[in-house]
């Protein structure tokens, strides 16, 4: 199959293809529907679309023929005994967190040794596992138990959400997840037990004595280098952080220009020192610094960053890129990112030059290379 880009938006799922050196929108599915996420399982080639019907709730669809046809599959749901249990209380807001899946916010295929295993993260912050490609889902109860103790809270949304899942390619039982807001958590036994893994993250929005509390960290997105899974990167609410020891500790990266704020981050799949972010003005004014859309790239593990601008609008552009709105392909050469104002760009040279695909798509929630 040729490489394509799937773009999940507020008003449908769009397929973007390369034709004669130009990228163009070739197809649309679920027009008018709100897609929070598109997922891809490289083991089977199956594509998953999460649709957030305002009236009818969250639904999941799966395509096994590259997006030509779709079938509704099971939706993750909190089990009845949890639904009937006392609600968790958001520690900041002192409001009840409903036991109801409001949004599917993370998708990750399991390891190569676990065919059929899919992981989903949700708002409120649940982690669900399927062992049959989404025909059924099981809540990960050990992480929920830790959540009760740890008092996760809402970040940008009213309720805490699990948005990033990294399955270690060397060991599919080692899974690291990130929560907004609830820090980073890791299991080494396939989800039977979890420990907090956000030591070193710093929260500017907390009183000084709690800034390094690992339980209050607002990771916006977390990625893991495929070739060197000990190396992970986080775009956090108030900065960029890197781990070189499999999330045992994190170091703050302060060199990102023009801003350390953003939602999305990508790491080169073969070079853990190379990563990209899409910076914005922090944090109550979320638009590109000076109205100039840029991508920040480091090639040296965050010691320094380049500001990439070629092909990107450099005046009065107010595109914001959400946490799933930036993607890198499996070669590390091609990147794509989309914005809340419906702009989509592609680079075929690690971000040196960008090609604009459209400025008229609906607000973009998620982009994904299909290879």
């Amino acid at each position: 199959m040729d490489r394509r880009i799937l773009v999940a938006t507020r008003k449908g799922l769009f397929t973007v293809v390369r034709e004669s050196d130009r990228w163009k929108v070739a197809d649309a599915a679920f027009l008018g529907d709100n897609l929070s996420l598109v997922g891809y399982d490289p083991r089977t080639g199956a594509i998953y679309a999460s649709i957030h019907h305002g009236h009818f709730g969250v639904k999941l669809q799966r395509s096994e023929d590259g997006g030509a046809t779709w079938r509704e599959i099971a939706t993750p749901a909190y089990p009845q005994d949890i639904v009937e249990s006392p609600p968790m209380i958001d520690d900041f807001r002192k409001t009840a967190i409903p036991w109801s899946v409001q949004l599917i916010w993370a998708f990750e295929a399991g390891g190569r040794d676990e065919p059929g295993v899919i992981w989903l993260g949700t708002i409120p912050g649940g982690l669900f596992r399927s062992s049959d490609c989404g025909e059924s889902w099981e809540l990960n109860r050990p992480l929920l138990d830790r959540q009760r103790e740890a008092k996760w809270t809402g970040g940008g949304y009213d309720f805490p959400g699990l948005h990033s899942i990294c399955v270690d390619p060397r060991d599919s039982q080692c899974i690291t997840v990130a929560i907004s807001t609830g820090g980073v958590w890791q299991t080494r036994d396939g989800g039977q037990s979890w420990c907090v893994a956000s030591h070193g993250l710093r929260a500017e929005y907390m009183p000084p004595d709690q800034a390094y509390n690992p339980l209050v960290q607002d990771a916006h997105a977390m990625v893991q280098c495929a070739a060197n899974p000990d190396r992970l990167w986080i775009q956090h609410h108030n900065g960029v952080f890197r781990s070189v020891d499999q999330a045992t500790s994190w170091q703050e990266i302060t060199t990102v220009q023009p801003s350390v704020f953003g939602f999305a981050i990508a790491v080169h799949p073969h070079d853990a020192e190379t990563a990209w972010t899409v910076p914005a003005v922090k944090d109550e004014k979320r638009y590109p610094v000076d109205g100039r859309v840029v991508v920040a790239r480091t090639r040296n593990g965050g010691v320094s960053f380049e500001t990439l601008t070629e092909g990107l609008p450099q005046g009065h552009a107010y595109d914001l890129t959400y946490r799933h709105g930036l993607a890198v392909d499996s070669t590390g050469e091609w990147l794509t990112f989309g914005s809340t104002t419906g702009s989509l760009w592609v680079s075929e040279d690690q971000g040196n030059r960008w090609q604009n695909v459209s400025t008229h798509l609906p607000p973009i929630h998620c982009v994904k290379f299909i290879e």
Partner: protein
């Protein structure tokens, strides 16, 4: 016994033609529909089996009083319309 009609906007996801089913309450009537079409449940009810926040059920022309337990009584002349609540302007 009641006649149940579902919003046309639901038909593109789940085929739900008007149907007359038994039941003493709105809940029992809906359960009879879901027994015929299990997929419909998740479109109308949430995980707690309450009416979804942005759905509304009209019961002889009036919105149901009990959105959680759906205990409003029905008789053989009852018409139930399962609709989307107005939202978005």
């Amino acid at each position: 016994m009641a006649r149940v009609v579902f919003t046309a906007n639901l038909q593109r996801h789940v085929s739900l033609p008007p149907v007359t089913v038994p039941g003493q309450t709105v809940r029992e009537v809906l359960e009879a529909v879901f027994a015929l079409n299990p997929q419909a449940r998740g479109y109308v009810l949430d995980e707690a089996n309450a009416l979804r926040k942005h759905m509304v059920i009209f019961h002889n022309g009036e919105p149901v009083l009990d959105r959680i337990h759906l205990s409003d009584a029905v008789d053989d002349n009852t018409e139930i319309y399962v609709m989307q609540a107005l939202s978005g302007g």
